[in-house]
C-alpha cells in the first residue's frame, strides 16, 4: 500500500474519523484507523464498535492498493503538526507504515486490516434523503438536553421520530426536555429510533451547513448516514423513550415574553452567585417585571430585575439556571416566550412566533 496526499486533504477526514476512536482501549485495534486504498480512492475507518465512521478522499494520482491499520491519534497529530501545504507519502513497508513529508520521516506500528472489526448491519433498510442543513439543525437544537451516563440508558441518546412529512428529534435527561420538528419527505412508514449520545455528536460533526443531501437508512438496529465523503453507521439504543407528548405542558396560562439576549445576560450574571453544585435561581414574576435572585452557601446574593411582557398571576419559581441558559443559547430569535402554569409545574420555552423547537424545564423546589 502506498499513496501520496496533501496535508489538508487528509486532515479533515482523519480528524473526524479519529474522533470516533476512544482514547483508552482494551482492544488495541480499536485505537487504530483503517486505511484502504482502492485505485484513486483512499478511505479511512474508525470505530468504537458502536459508531463507525468511514471517510473517503480522492487521491490526485493512483496509489498502490492495500489496506492496513495505524494508530489514529498519532497519525492525526503528525498530520496536524506538519506545515501547511505539506505533501505526505504514506507507504507500508515490512508491517510498518512510513510517513514521509519533506525532511520528516515517521514510522508507525501497524495491525493487520483483517483484525479490524466491522460494524455489521443486518435487516432491510428504509432509506430516504434529506438536507444536511436541516438534519444538523434538528440535532443542534436539542442535543444539549441529552442525559450523560444516566442509569436510564435510553436517555443517553436522542429520539428520532421519522414520519412521512416530518422528522422530530427529542432529547431529555429527566429534568428538562428539548424537541425539534423539521419538514422532510420521509419514508412511508413512521419509525422511532434512539441514537446513542456519541452517535448523535459524531453525526452532527460531519454534517455541513450547506444545502446538500444526506441519505439516512434505518435497519432494525442501525442507522446509516451517507454523504458524499462519509459513511456513518451507529448502533441504536434498544429501549423505550419516554412519551414526550405527555411531558409537554398544554395548560399554561401565564405567558411571558422577554428579550432573549437581555434575559440570557441576566441569567449569566445571577448564575455566578448561585449554588455552584445545583445552580438554583429564584424567578419572581409580576406584571411586566421579572426579578431573578440567587444566593450561595457563602450568603452572597445576586438580584436582577428585567422588564418583560407579562400580565399573568404573580409567581415565584425556582430553576436550575443552567437549564435556562442552555435554552437561551440555542434559541435564535430576538424574543423568547415562556409559558407557565404554577410554581410546581414545568415551564414551556419556545420562540414567540411558534418555531420548530420546544423546550420544557422542570422547576426546582428551593
Amino acid at each position: 500500500m502506498k499513496f501520496v496526499i496533501s496535508r489538508e486533504a487528509l486532515l479533515r477526514p482523519l480528524q473526524l474519523v479519529a474522533g470516533v476512536v476512544e482514547k483508552r482501549q482494551t482492544l488495541p485495534v480499536l485505537s487504530n484507523v483503517l486505511l484502504q486504498v482502492r485505485g484513486q480512492q483512499l478511505s479511512l475507518t474508525g470505530t468504537d464498535l458502536e459508531v463507525e465512521l468511514i471517510g473517503r478522499v480522492t487521491l490526485d494520482e493512483v496509489g498502490i492498493e492495500g489496506e492496513i491499520t495505524v494508530p489514529g491519534k498519532k497519525l492525526m497529530d503528525i498530520c496536524r503538526s506538519l506545515p501547511d501545504g505539506a505533501q505526505l507519502e504514506i507507504a507500508l513497508e515490512d508491517q510498518r507504515v512510513n510517513v514521509r513529508s519533506g525532511r520528516s520521516r515517521f514510522t508507525l506500528s501497524t495491525l493487520p486490516a483483517t483484525e479490524f472489526p466491522n460494524v455489521d448491519s443486518v435487516g432491510e433498510e428504509k432509506t430516504f434523503a434529506m438536507s444536511q442543513q436541516v438534519l444538523r439543525r434538528a440535532i443542534d437544537r436539542t442535543s444539549f438536553a441529552m442525559a450523560q451516563q444516566d442509569v436510564r440508558y435510553y436517555l443517553n441518546g436522542m429520539l428520532f421520530e421519522v414520519g412521512q412529512d416530518s422528522l422530530r428529534t427529542v432529547a431529555t435527561d429527566g429534568h428538562r426536555l428539548a424537541t425539534c420538528r423539521v419538514d422532510i419527505s420521509g419514508p412511508d412508514e413512521a419509525r422511532q429510533i434512539i441514537l446513542p449520545r456519541k452517535g448523535v455528536l459524531e453525526l452532527a460533526k460531519l454534517l455541513t451547513d450547506a444545502d446538500v443531501s444526506v441519505t439516512l437508512a434505518f435497519s432494525a438496529n442501525h442507522l446509516r448516514a451517507h454523504t458524499e465523503n462519509f459513511s456513518f453507521t451507529s448502533k441504536l439504543v434498544d429501549g423505550k423513550f419516554p412519551d414526550y407528548t405527555r411531558v409537554i405542558p398544554k395548560n399554561g396560562t401565564n405567558v411571558l415574553i422577554a428579550n432573549r439576549q437581555e434575559l440570557r445576560q441576566v441569567f449569566a450574571r445571577t448564575a455566578i452567585l448561585s449554588n455552584e453544585k445545583y445552580r438554583g435561581v429564584r424567578l419572581l414574576l409580576s406584571t411586566d417585571i421579572l426579578q431573578v435572585f440567587a444566593n450561595n452557601p457563602e450568603q452572597e446574593e445576586a438580584e436582577e430585575s428585567v422588564g418583560v411582557h407579562y400580565n399573568g398571576a404573580s409567581l415565584e419559581m425556582g430553576f436550575n439556571v443552567s437549564y435556562l441558559q442552555d435554552v437561551m443559547s440555542v434559541i435564535a430569535t430576538e424574543n423568547v416566550k415562556m409559558t407557565l402554569s404554577d410554581a410546581n409545574s414545568s415551564a414551556l420555552l419556545e420562540e414567540p412566533e411558534g418555531g420548530d423547537s420546544v423546550y420544557v424545564v422542570m422547576p426546582m423546589r428551593l
Binding site: 431529555t172 411531558v247 449554588n275 422542570m362 426546582m364 423546589r365
Partner: protein
C-alpha cells in the same frame, strides 16, 4: 411410626442444652451469671483442658438453701422471677431456669452451696435417666461452687465439635472478659490448668476501671479511648470509644452492654458504625466498650436463649441516642484535647482526694482523678465527671508513643547533667507546669453531656469544683478558658517540608501536619455546615423514574413518606411492587437514585431510620472538599500555615481527614531527646 411418648427428663434437658451449651465457654457464662445474680463479690473460675475436663466456678454470693438444692437442678426452676411482670422488667442476668439442668444433663455436675444463714454446706448431684438428685453434707464457705466435669461425656456428637484445648479456652476467656467488663464491683480470677490467667480486683474508681479495661483488652485501647458519659431521655450511655485512628481490622474489640448484659445487636452496631462513618478509614472497625442503661421495661431480653440479642421497645430512640452521642463525642475531639500537658508528678498528690469523690459515684462514673505514678501507663489530669477525651491519648495520632518513654528527668537532674539543656527545657515543662495545669482547657465533652464549664482555678486539682448539670443536646464544648497559654495547642508553624508537611513547634515539641489531609477536613466540615444551613432543594422529575421493589419495601415507602419528603424525595406507589420517583434532592441529580432509595428502604425496614441521603451527600461534599483543598507541593507561607493550624484547632474531627487518615502527629521533646541520647 412409633407411639407418642414423653421424653425422659435427661433427654429433654439435653435438647435444651443444645441451645445453650455448645462449648465450655457457654457454661462459664451461665455459671458466672448465676454467681453475679447471687450477689457475689468474688468469682473464681478454674478450668482444666480448656474447660472440657473440669470447670469450677466458685462465688461468695448468697448461696442456696438446703431445701432448694434439689430443685435447683431441675428444669424451669429459678429464684429470679416469679410472675410475668418480673419477666417484663427482669434485672437479673438469667431468668429461664434452665442453665443448671441443661449443664448437668451433659456433664457430671456437682453443686455445693452454703446459704448465708446456714451452719453447714450441702452438695447436690443429679444422675441417671430421670435426673434423680442426691443431697449430701459438705464443707464450704458461704457461697456456691459449681463443678462441671467431663463435659459432653454422654453426648459424643457434641464432643466431636469441640476444638483444641487452646481454642476452647480462648472462647472461655473471651466470655469471661465480657462478664468482667460488665461488673467492676466484682473481683474475678481465672485459672487454667492451675495457672492464673487473670486476676482482677474490685475496681470502684475510674482509674481502676480503666486499668481493668486495659488489662482485658489492651493498654493501647484505653490510651486511645474517649470516655463517654451521657444521659438523655431515660437512656444513659457510659464507657469508652476508641479514637478513629485506633481502628481494628475486625469487629473483635466491640463490647456493648445493655443493662449490664453483653449483647451483639444489629441496631447498636449500625448506630455506632454510622457515628464513625465520617472518620473511620475504609474497611476498618471501631473499638468500644459501652454500657447502655435504660428502664428494663423498655427492652426485651427474652428473645434468644443465649440472650445475645435484645429487642428495644423504641429502637429508633435508642439508635438516635447512640448515634448522636457518639457522633458528638467524636466530632468534638480537638487537637488541644489530645495533647496532655507535660508530665508532672506533683499532681498526683492532689488527685487521690479528687478521685475519692469519684469512688462514691460507683461504676464507670466520671470523676476520674489521676495517678499517673500509680500505673505508669499514662497520665490524665482531669478532675471532672465528664470529659470529652482522655488526657493522654494523642499518642494514637501517629502511633508515636511519646508517653511510654521513660519519665522525664527532673529539672534538677537535668541541670546537673546538662546545664544548657535544662535551661532549654525548663520553660517548656517543669516551670510552667503548675500554671499550665491551671490554664489547661477543660476537657469537656459536648455541652449535652454535662458540666459545660468546669474551671480548674489553681494548680491543686483536688480543689476542682465539680458541677454536673445535664443539659439538653445542643451546642458544643466550651471554648478554651480565657487567658490560656499563649502557645496554641498545635503551636506555631516553623517550616514546610517537601511541600507536603507542615512542621510546627508547640509546648510539647514538634507537630507534624499533613497539609492536604488537614485542609481537606476543614473544607469538608465547612461545606457540610454550609449545606446544612440551607433548606433542602429538590428537583421534581420531568420524566418520573419507575423502580420495582418488593411489596414490603413499597409498604415502607408509603409508611415513611413524610421522612422521604423531608429529605426531598417524593415517591408514589403505582402498583403493589412498583414505585415512581417523582422528586429527588437537587444535590443528588447525578446519583444512582433508585439504588439509593432501595438502600434507604432497606434501612428503614431494618432500623426505622436511614441516613443514606446524608451519607451520599457527604460523599459528594467530600469529593468537592478534596478538590478544593491545597494539594501537595503548594508552597505555603508561615502565616498561611499558622492559619491552617488555628483552623484545625477549631474544626470538628480535625484529627482525621475525610477518609480517616490521621492529619497530624506529635513528636515530643522527650522523644526527640531520645533520638539523640540526650539527658541519659
Amino acid at each position: 411410626m412409633s407411639k407418642i411418648h414423653l421424653l425422659s427428663p435427661r433427654l429433654a434437658n439435653q435438647i435444651a442444652a443444645g441451645e445453650v451449651v455448645e462449648r465450655p465457654a457457654n457454661i462459664v457464662k451461665e455459671l458466672v451469671e448465676n454467681a453475679l445474680d447471687a450477689g457475689a463479690r468474688r468469682i473464681e473460675v478454674d478450668a482444666e483442658q480448656g474447660g472440657v475436663k473440669l470447670l469450677r466456678v466458685r462465688d461468695d454470693g448468697c448461696g442456696i438453701e438446703q431445701d432448694d438444692l434439689a430443685l435447683a437442678l431441675s428444669r424451669h426452676a429459678t429464684s429470679k422471677i416469679t410472675t410475668l411482670d418480673d419477666l417484663e422488667a427482669v434485672m437479673t442476668m438469667g431468668f429461664r431456669g434452665e442453665a443448671l439442668a441443661s449443664i448437668s444433663s451433659v456433664s457430671r455436675l456437682t453443686l455445693t452451696s452454703r446459704f448465708e444463714q446456714a451452719e453447714q454446706a450441702w452438695q447436690v448431684t443429679a444422675e441417671g435417666r430421670d435426673m434423680q438428685t442426691s443431697v449430701a453434707p459438705a464443707a464450704h464457705p458461704q457461697g456456691t461452687t459449681v463443678e462441671v466435669r467431663d463435659l459432653f461425656f454422654n453426648t459424643p456428637a457434641r464432643r466431636k465439635f469441640l476444638r483444641t484445648e487452646k481454642t476452647e479456652f480462648g472462647h472461655l476467656e473471651e466470655h469471661l472478659k465480657k462478664l468482667a467488663l460488665s461488673r467492676y464491683d466484682v473481683a474475678f480470677t481465672l485459672r487454667h490448668n492451675n495457672r492464673v490467667i487473670h486476676q482482677l480486683r474490685v475496681a470502684d474508681r475510674g482509674i481502676e476501671q480503666e486499668r481493668r479495661v486495659a488489662t482485658l483488652l489492651s493498654p493501647d485501647f484505653i490510651d486511645h479511648a474517649i470516655h463517654v458519659d451521657t444521659e438523655a431521655a431515660g437512656l444513659q450511655l457510659k464507657g469508652w470509644v476508641a479514637l478513629p485512628t485506633y481502628s481494628r481490622s475486625q469487629t473483635d474489640m466491640q463490647y456493648f452492654y445493655v443493662n449490664g448484659r453483653a449483647v451483639r445487636d444489629k441496631l447498636v452496631v449500625h448506630a455506632i458504625r454510622q457515628a464513625y462513618r465520617d472518620v473511620l478509614y475504609n474497611g476498618r472497625h471501631p473499638a468500644f466498650v459501652l454500657y447502655l442503661e435504660l428502664d428494663p421495661k423498655l427492652v426485651d431480653v427474652n428473645v434468644h436463649p443465649t440472650k445475645h440479642e435484645v429487642r428495644f421497645r423504641d429502637g429508633r430512640l435508642v439508635h438516635d441516642f447512640l448515634f448522636r452521642t457518639l457522633h458528638q463525642v467524636l466530632g468534638n475531639i480537638r487537637p488541644q484535647d489530645q495533647l496532655a500537658p507535660a508530665s508532672s508528678s506533683s499532681l498526683t498528690a492532689g488527685v487521690d482526694s479528687a478521685s475519692a469523690v469519684g469512688e462514691t459515684r460507683g461504676f464507670a462514673s466520671g470523676a476520674v482523678g489521676n495517678s499517673e505514678a500509680a500505673n505508669g501507663l499514662r497520665l490524665q489530669t482531669q478532675a471532672e465527671p465528664v470529659r470529652g477525651i482522655q488526657a493522654g491519648e494523642f499518642r494514637g495520632q501517629g502511633g508515636l508513643p511519646w508517653q511510654s518513654s521513660e519519665p522525664k528527668p527532673t529539672p534538677a537532674a537535668v541541670a546537673e547533667q546538662m546545664n544548657s539543656y535544662a535551661n532549654l527545657i525548663r520553660p517548656l515543662d517543669s516551670d510552667t507546669v503548675p500554671a499550665a495545669m491551671a490554664e489547661r482547657p477543660v476537657l469537656a465533652g459536648t455541652a449535652g453531656f454535662a458540666s459545660p464549664n468546669d474551671s480548674v482555678t489553681s494548680g491543686n486539682m483536688a480543689t476542682a469544683v465539680q458541677t454536673n448539670t445535664p443539659v439538653a443536646f445542643a451546642g458544643v464544648a466550651p471554648a478554651m478558658p480565657a487567658g490560656s497559654a499563649d502557645m496554641p495547642p498545635l503551636g506555631f508553624a516553623i517550616a514546610q517540608l517537601h511541600g507536603i508537611y507542615i512542621l510546627a513547634e508547640n509546648r510539647q515539641g514538634l507537630v507534624l501536619v499533613d497539609m492536604h489531609a488537614a485542609h481537606e477536613r476543614i473544607t469538608y466540615e465547612r461545606l457540610k455546615a454550609a449545606v446544612d444551613r440551607e433548606s433542602v432543594a429538590s428537583q421534581p422529575l420531568l420524566v418520573p423514574q419507575s423502580m420495582s421493589v418488593s411489596e414490603a419495601e413499597a409498604d415502607a415507602a408509603e409508611q415513611y413518606a413524610a421522612e422521604f419528603r423531608a429529605l426531598g424525595v417524593e415517591l408514589a406507589r403505582v402498583g403493589p411492587e412498583s414505585l415512581l420517583v417523582r422528586q429527588i434532592p437537587v444535590l443528588l441529580q447525578q446519583a444512582p437514585v433508585t439504588n439509593l432509595i432501595t438502600d434507604m428502604l432497606g434501612d428503614l425496614i431494618e432500623h426505622g431510620s436511614s441516613d443514606r441521603i446524608l451519607a451520599h451527600r457527604n460523599e459528594l461534599l467530600a469529593t468537592m472538599a478534596c478538590h478544593g483543598s491545597v494539594r501537595a507541593n503548594r508552597r505555603l507561607s508561615v502565616a498561611e500555615m499558622n492559619a491552617l493550624l488555628r483552623d484545625m484547632e477549631a474544626t470538628e474531627r480535625s484529627g482525621q481527614c475525610n477518609h480517616g487518615r490521621p492529619t497530624w502527629t506529635q513528636l515530643s521533646m522527650a522523644e526527640l531527646d531520645k533520638l539523640f541520647l540526650r539527658g541519659r
